[in-house]
Amino acid sequence: MSVAELKERHMAATETVNSLRDRLRQQRLLLLDTDVAGYARSQGKTPVTFGPTDLVCCRTLQGHTGKVHSLDWTPERNRIVSASQDGRLIVWNALTSQKTHAIKLPCAWVMTCAFSPNGQSVACGGLDSMCSIFNLNTQTDNDGSMPVSRMLSGHKGYVSSCQYVPDEDTHLITASGDHTCVLWDITTGLRTSVFGGEFQSGHTSDVVSVSINGSNSRMFVSGSCDSTARLWDTRVASRAVRTFHGHEGDVNTVKFFPDGNRFGTGSDDGTCRLFDIRTGHQLQVYNQPHGDNEAPHVTSIAFSISGRLLFAGYTNGDCYVWDTLLAQVVLDLGSLQNSHDGRISCLGLSADGSALCTGSWDTNLKTTSVDK
C-alpha cells in the first residue's frame, strides 16, 4: 500500500467519521424533546428573587499577595484551601477568616488545589507537572515551606485541576495539559489509570478541569481546550463513556449537578451549559448577551445545594447567579457592594451549601452566605 493510497483512505475515513457525527447530532436534536426553561415557565415557575440580605458578602479572606487561582472547601468543618500566584497555599477557617496554614510551595506556579475528604491533607498542582500532597499535620519549617508528603509525578504537562475521589483519601484525579486525566493511588504514588492521551477517544487538547460525580464516584467528567467535555468511567480507562459537544470555546470548568445525573460547563465562548449524562443531551444554555464586544469567558461555576442556582464567575469580574430552570440571571454578585476588583478565577460552594467562596485576581477571597 503506497503512502498516497494510505492518505486517501485516511481522508475517506475522516469524512465518514464526520458525516456520522453529523448524523448523530441530527438524531440527537430530533430526540431532544425537553425544553427546561419553557417547561418550567409553563409550570408557573418564577425566577428566584433575592432580598437585600439574602446574599451578603460576610468575610473577606485577605492574605494572598498574588492572584488567587483556585480554592476548595473541606467536606466538613468549614475550611477553605486556596492557591495563589504568590506561591502559597493558605488554609482558612471560613467562619473566622483566620489562616490555619500557609504553605510555601516549591514551585510558585500553582494552578489548582484540593482538600482531601478527611480534611487532613491538601493537594495542589501546577506548572511543575506534579501533584503535590501536603499533610496538614506536619510542621512547616522556618520559611513557611512544608515537606511534601507525596509527590505524584508522571504527567507530561502542567496539572490544571485535581480533585479527591469523594470519601476516598487515597485516590485523586488530576487533569493535565498533556491531554490526559489520571487516577492516582496516593499511598503508592502511582498512576492507577490514565484517561485519554494515546487513545483516540481521549481529549485532543489540554484538559483543564475535572469534576467527580458526587453520587457515583466512579464517574467523572472532564473539560478540555478541544471545546468538549467527556464523561469517564474510572473502571474503563480506554475510552470516554461519552463526549459532549456544544461549546465553541475551551471548556474551562465542569461541575456535576448535585443529583449526579447532569453536569454544568463553563467556556471561553461566554456560555454555561447543562448536559445530561444519561441521554447526552444539552439541556440548557446560560448565555447573557453582551452587546457588541466579545463575551467575557466563564472561569468557574458552582451549583447551589438544591441545584436551582448556578454561580458563574467571569473574566470581567462579574459573578452571575443563574436560575438553572429558567436560564435567567437573577443576581450579579459582581455588582454588589464590596465585590472583587478583578477577574473571578474560582468559586466553590461549601459542602452544606450554606456559603459560597469566590477567589479573584485581586488577591482576595470572599465568602458569601447562601440561603437558598
Binding site: D86, R88, W109, G144
Partner: protein, 893 residues
C-alpha cells in the same frame, strides 16, 4: 551660651536688623568643638520630667510612647544643655567653619533627663507655656512668611535632613524656636533681608541622636554668592534658577532668636506640649502657598538638565550621602507642585527616580524592628525580595509570623502565633481580614485604669490627629523603591533542543555559590551514567553492523580473490577488525536486549558497579575503538556522547562526581517537564565594565531566571498569563537547527528552524507578552560556525536568499567576518524583521555559545541592560534612544 550666641547665632530681635557672623581668625582649635545650635530654649514647648523617681528603671513594662518627637527633642535638649555647660570654655566659634560636635555620651547628667523623658514619665500639658509659645510664635511666623515669600524658599520641596523634624513633620513649626527652620533657599531673589539672614544648615546622620553633626555656614557668604551670580538679574528681580543651584546653593535659614534664653528653663517646665497641629499646618501651608508662586514667577527656565545634577533627588549638596529625614520618607519620589512648574516632566521624573533609588535614601534596616529586634541589611534585602514582601515598609515595629509568613504592624497587642487582630499605632485594632475598626485600645476604660496603675503612658488626645496625619501621609505616598528591589523575572523559552537548559545550567554555575546541591549532583550522576550506558549500547549496535559489513566485504573479497587461499581465510573469516571476544559479546547482547526492551534506565545506574570493569575492558578493546572512530556514521549517537565516552571508564566508577562542565554537557538533567527557576544577582565585580553612571542600586537587583519547557506549549497556553510579571522574555534559537528536521504533530518532517520560527511568532503575539521586550538568543554559534562551511544555509526555506559575498582570501584576513558571522547577522536580521512586522518594536539579539560561561554571562547582562533602558526609556528622546538601539543591534562578538 551667651558668648557663643553673640558670635555665632544671628540675633533676630527685629525683622529688619541682622547681625553678621564674623569669621574666626584665632589659633586653630585643637579640641573637639561642641555643636553650636542656636536655640530659643525658653520657647521650647517640650516635655520634661515630673518626677524621675516615680518608677524604678528595672520595671520592664510595655510602654507606649506618646509621640516620638519628644524623644528626639529631649535628646537634642540634652545636647543643648551640654552645650551650655561647655560653652563657657569656648573662646570663639567661627560661623564659617564647620563645627562638628559628636555627642557620643548621653550619660551625662543633663542627658539623662531626656532619657527618662523618652521612657515616658507621666506628663501633662502646661497650657500657659503652650499659650506662651503660640503667642510668641505668631508674629515670628508672620515674619518668616514674609521672608519666605521674598526669598523664595522651597522649604518643602527640598529634602533637608534635620533631626527636629523627625517623626512629626507637622510639628516642625511648633518647635520653630527650637529647631532652626531649615528651608532651602533658592537663589537670592534680591532682597536686602536675604543678605542679612544667617544661613545655617544642620544635618543629622542618625536621627536617634547618637551622632550629630551640625554645620553653620555663613549667611553672608552664601548670600553674597547669590548676589554675584545673579547680578544681572538683580534689577529685574528675576533670577534664573538652575538645577546647579538647587543642588549646590541650597542653604537653610534660621529664624530662631535663641540667644537670651537660659538652658535651665527646661528643668523648670516639666511639661509635654503637643502642638496644635492644624494651626501649624495651616501656617506652613500658607507659607508655601505664598512662597511658591513667587519663586515660580522669578525662575522660569531651568538652565541645566536635571539628569545627573541631582544624584540623590532633592537634596542639598551637604546632605548628599546622608540618610534622609525619616519623617519625609513618605514624600520620597512624590513631586511637589513647585517642582512640576519649575522643571519639565522628564527632569522631574529623573529627579524622583534618583530620589527613590539612591542607596542612602533607602530605608535603613536598623529602624525596622521585627519581633523586637532590629533588622540587619541582609535581612532587609531578604525580606524585600521574599515572595511575600511587606507592603509600605516604614520604620516601626513589626511582627513576623513564621507559621504563615505574614507581616503585620505591632503596637502593643500580642500578635505572634495566630494573629487575630491587627493593631494600628493610634490604638485602633481590627479583626484580621476585616476592614471595620473593632475599637480603640485607649478608648477602653479598663486600659486607661491599668495604664494609670502601672504608670504607663496613655497617648493624649491631641497626639491622635498628628499620628494619623503622619501615617496617612506615609501610606498615601508609598515609596516604590521596594518594587525596584523586587525580583526581576526573566523568562527563558525556546523550542526543544535550542539549548535553554544549557543556558539555565550555565546561569546556575555562573551566579550560584553552590550551583548544584549534593543531592542534585547524585541525581545528575545517575543520569549521566545511564546515558553513558546508552551511548555504549549505541556503539555496540554500530559495532555489530560494522562487523557484518566488514564480514560481507571480506567474503566478497574472498570470492573475488578466488578459492586458492580458501582454507586459510576460512579460519580467519569470523575475525574482523570489529570482532570482540565472547565474554564482551555476551555483555553486548545483553545490553542491546535491555535497550530494546526500554528498561535501561531502570537497571543501569544501579548495576553500574557490577559492569564498570566490563566497560573498562570494552573501552580498551580495539574493536570497540574502531567503532568509536566511525561514530559519525551512527546517527542516533548524540554529538555530546564523545565527551562522555572519552571518559567512560572514569564516569562509570561508583565514586564519580560530575563536574560543572560534565553537568553542562549532560542532557536531560534539568527537570524534563514543567519549569525550573533559579534566583540570582549579578556579582558586584561585574560592574567595572558596563556601569555607566554609577547605578549602584543595580547591585541590589535580584533576578530570577525561569526556564520553561517547550513541550507544554499548545495552541492556547492560557497559563502564560501567570508570567505576565516577567520583565523580559529570552527566546532561545539554536543556529545549527537550520538543517535539522523534527516530526511535527501531523507526522511530517519539518525544518526545526521553521518550528522555532513558528513558536517565536506564537510567543511574540501572545496577549500576555504584549509590550514585553524580547531578547533573541541565537545559540550554538560554535556548531553553526563549523556547519555552515559544509552545509549551505539555504537548506532552510526561510533562508533561501542568503548570498554572502565571500572574499577569496577570507581565511587570511582576520578582519573579514567568517561565513558563520555573516550567517548569524543574516538570521538575526530575519528575526528582527519578523518581530518588527508582528509588533512594530525592536528585537534585541544576542549571540551565545551556551557552553562558554562568558558568552551566557554577557547575554544575561545584556538582558539586564535592556531592563535598564526600559526604565530610562522615557528619559531619552527618540533620537537618543535609537542611538542606543543601534548599538544594541550591532553586536560585537
Amino acid at each position: 551660651m551667651k558668648d557663643m550666641s553673640l558670635e555665632v547665632a544671628t540675633v533676630v530681635e527685629d525683622a529688619a536688623e541682622y547681625s553678621f557672623a564674623m569669621e574666626y581668625h584665632g589659633p586653630p582649635i585643637t579640641r573637639e568643638l561642641p555643636r553650636a545650635v542656636p536655640i530659643n530654649v525658653d520657647r521650647i514647648p517640650v516635655a520634661a520630667v515630673v518626677s524621675p523617681l516615680s518608677f524604678s528603671d528595672n520595671l520592664s513594662l510595655p510602654i507606649v510612647q506618646p509621640i516620638s518627637a519628644t524623644d528626639i527633642i529631649g535628646k537634642k535638649l540634652s545636647k543643648d544643655l551640654k552645650l551650655s555647660s561647655t560653652s563657657a570654655e569656648l573662646l570663639t566659634v567661627s560661623p564659617t567653619s564647620v563645627i562638628a560636635f559628636e555627642s557620643r555620651n548621653n550619660e551625662v547628667s543633663e542627658g539623662s533627663y531626656s532619657k527618662e523623658l523618652g521612657l515616658g514619665t507621666e506628663t501633662s500639658v502646661s497650657p500657659s507655656s503652650v499659650g506662651n509659645a503660640l503667642d510668641e510664635r505668631e508674629p515670628e511666623n508672620c515674619h518668616s512668611n514674609d521672608v519666605c515669600a521674598l526669598s523664595g524658599e522651597l522649604s518643602s520641596d527640598f529634602e533637608c535632613c534635620h533631626p527636629d523634624g523627625v517623626v512629626n513633620g507637622a510639628n516642625e513649626r511648633g518647635y520653630s524656636s527650637v529647631s532652626p527652620d531649615h528651608s532651602c533657599e533658592l537663589g537670592g531673589v534680591g532682597t536686602s533681608e536675604a543678605l542679612g539672614s544667617l544661613d545655617s544648615f544642620e544635618k543629622s546622620r542618625n536621627s536617634s541622636g547618637s551622632l550629630h553633626k551640625s554645620r553653620l555656614s555663613s549667611g553672608l557668604k552664601g548670600s553674597l554668592d547669590f548676589n554675584e551670580s545673579n547680578r544681572t538679574d538683580w534689577a529685574s528681580n528675576e533670577s534664573v534658577l538652575s538645577m546647579d543651584y538647587l543642588s549646590s546653593r541650597v542653604s537653610s535659614r534660621k529664624f530662631g532668636d535663641g540667644n537670651n534664653e537660659s538652658a535651665c528653663d527646661v528643668r523648670r517646665v516639666p511639661v509635654v506640649t503637643f502642638c496644635d497641629i492644624e494651626s501649624d499646618d495651616e501656617n506652613t501651608n500658607e507659607e508655601f502657598s505664598r512662597s511658591e508662586p513667587e519663586v515660580v514667577r522669578a525662575k522660569k527656565e531651568p538652565a541645566v538638565k536635571s539628569n545627573g545634577s541631582m544624584p540623590e533627588g532633592r537634596k542639598c549638596v551637604t546632605c548628599i550621602g546622608y540618610p534622609i529625614d525619616e519623617s519625609k520618607r513618605g514624600s520620597l519620589g512624590k513631586c511637589s507642585r513647585m517642582l512640576k512648574r519649575l522643571l519639565n516632566d522628564l527632569e522631574v521624573r529623573q529627579i524622583m527616580k534618583a530620589e527613590k533609588l539612591c542607596e542612602v535614601n533607602q530605608l535603613p534596616p536598623e529602624y525596622i524592628y521585627v519581633n523586637g529586634s532590629p533588622l540587619y541589611h541582609e535581612e532587609l534585602i531578604m525580606l524585600q525580595s521574599c515572595p511575600n514582601p511587606p507592603k509600605k515598609l516604614k520604620p516601626g515595629n513589626y511582627w513576623y509570623d513564621k507559621v504563615s509568613g505574614l507581616w503585620g504592624k505591632l503596637a502593643g497587642v500580642q500578635c505572634a502565633g495566630n494573629p487575630h487582630f491587627w493593631v494600628n499605632d493610634d490604638g485602633s485594632y481590627q479583626e484580621e481580614g476585616q476592614k471595620n475598626t473593632k475599637g480603640y485600645i485607649w478608648g477602653k476604660a479598663g486600659t486607661k485604669l491599668l495604664c494609670a496603675v502601672l504608670s504607663l503612658l496613655v497617648p493624649s488626645k491631641s497626639s491622635h490627629p498628628c499620628g494619623e496625619q503622619v501615617t496617612s501621609m506615609i501610606s498615601r505616598s508609598m515609596p516604590d523603591y521596594l518594587e525596584q528591589r523586587a525580583l526581576q523575572k526573566l523568562l527563558l523559552i525556546g523550542y526543544s533542543g535550542s539549548g535553554t537548559s544549557t543556558i539555565f545550567k550555565q546561569a546556575k554555575i555562573l551566579y550560584k555559590d553552590i550551583p548544584f546541591s549534593e543531592d542534585e549532583r547524585e541525581q545528575i550522576k545517575l543520569v549521566i551514567q545511564s546515558h553513558v550506558y546508552s551511548y555504549i549500547g549505541i556503539l555496540l549496535e554500530g559495532r555489530e553492523r560494522f562487523e557484518e559489513e566488514s564480514l560481507n566485504n571480506l567474503r566478497q573479497n574472498q570470492s573475488s580473490d578466488g578459492s586458492a587461499l580458501a582454507g586459510h581465510v576460512d579460519c580467519n573469516s569470523e575475525k574482523t577488525l570489529y570482532s570482540i571476544c565472547p565474554r564482551l559479546k555476551a555483555f553486548s547482547d545483553w545490553l542491546l536486549k535491555i535497550m530494546a526492551s526500554g528498561t535501561l534506565e531502570a537497571i543501569f545506574p544501579a548495576a553500574s558497579r557490577e559492569y564498570a570493569p566490563l566497560v573498562e575492558e570494552l573501552w580498551s578493546n580495539p574493536a570497540f575503538h574502531a567503532t568509536y572512530k566511525r561514530r559519525s556514521e551512527l546517527e542516533t549517537l548524540p554529538s555530546v556522547a564523545s565527551y562522555f565516552l572519552e571518559r567512560a571508564v572514569e564516569i562509570l566508577k561508583p565514586d564519580y562526581k560530575p563536574s560543572d562542565v560534565d553537568i553542562l554537557y549532560a542532557e536531560h538533567v534539568t527537570s524534563s517537564n514543567g519549569l525550573s527557576c533559579v534566583d540570582f544577582s549579578f556579582p558586584e565585580s561585574a560592574y567595572d565594565d558596563d556601569a555607566d553612571s554609577g547605578d549602584l542600586h543595580d547591585s541590589l537587583l535580584r533576578f530570577q531566571l525561569i526556564r520553561l519547557q517547550a513541550k507544554g506549549f499548545g495552541e492556547n497556553c492560557k497559563w502564560l498569563e501567570m508570567f505576565e510579571d516577567v520583565r523580559i522574555v529570552i527566546f532561545c534559537v539554536s543556529l545549527s537547527d537550520y538543517d535539522q528536521f523534527a516530526i511535527d504533530g501531523d507526522g511530517n518532517a519539518v525544518n526545526k528552524m521553521l518550528l522555532s520560527k513558528k513558536f517565536f511568532e506564537n510567543m511574540v503575539t501572545h496577549p500576555t507578552f504584549d509590550q514585553m521586550d524580547f531578547l533573541l538568543v541565537l545559540n550554538k554559534f560554535d556548531l553553526f560556525d563549523q556547519k555552515i562551511e559544509q552545509v549551505p544555509l539555504s537548506l532552510c526555506d526561510w533562508f533561501d536568499d542568503f548570498h554572502p559575498v565571500v572574499s577569496r582570501n577570507r581565511p587570511n584576513n582576520a578582519n573579514h567576518p567568517t561565513l558563520g558571522q555573516l550567517g548569524f547577522h543574516y538570521i538575526a536580521v530575519k528575526f528582527k524583521r519578523l518581530y518588527a512586522a508582528l509588533t512594530g518594536r525592536k528585537l534585541y539579539v544576542s549571540l551565545v555559545k551556551a557552553m562558554e560561561p562568558n558568552s551566557v554571562d554577557a547575554a544575561l547582562k545584556y538582558a539586564r541592560e535592556i531592563l535598564n533602558w526600559d526604565e530610562d526609556r522615557p528619559n531619552f528622546s527618540l533620537s537618543e534612544y535609537s542611538i542606543y538601539s543601534t548599538e544594541a543591534s550591532s553586536l560585537s562578538h
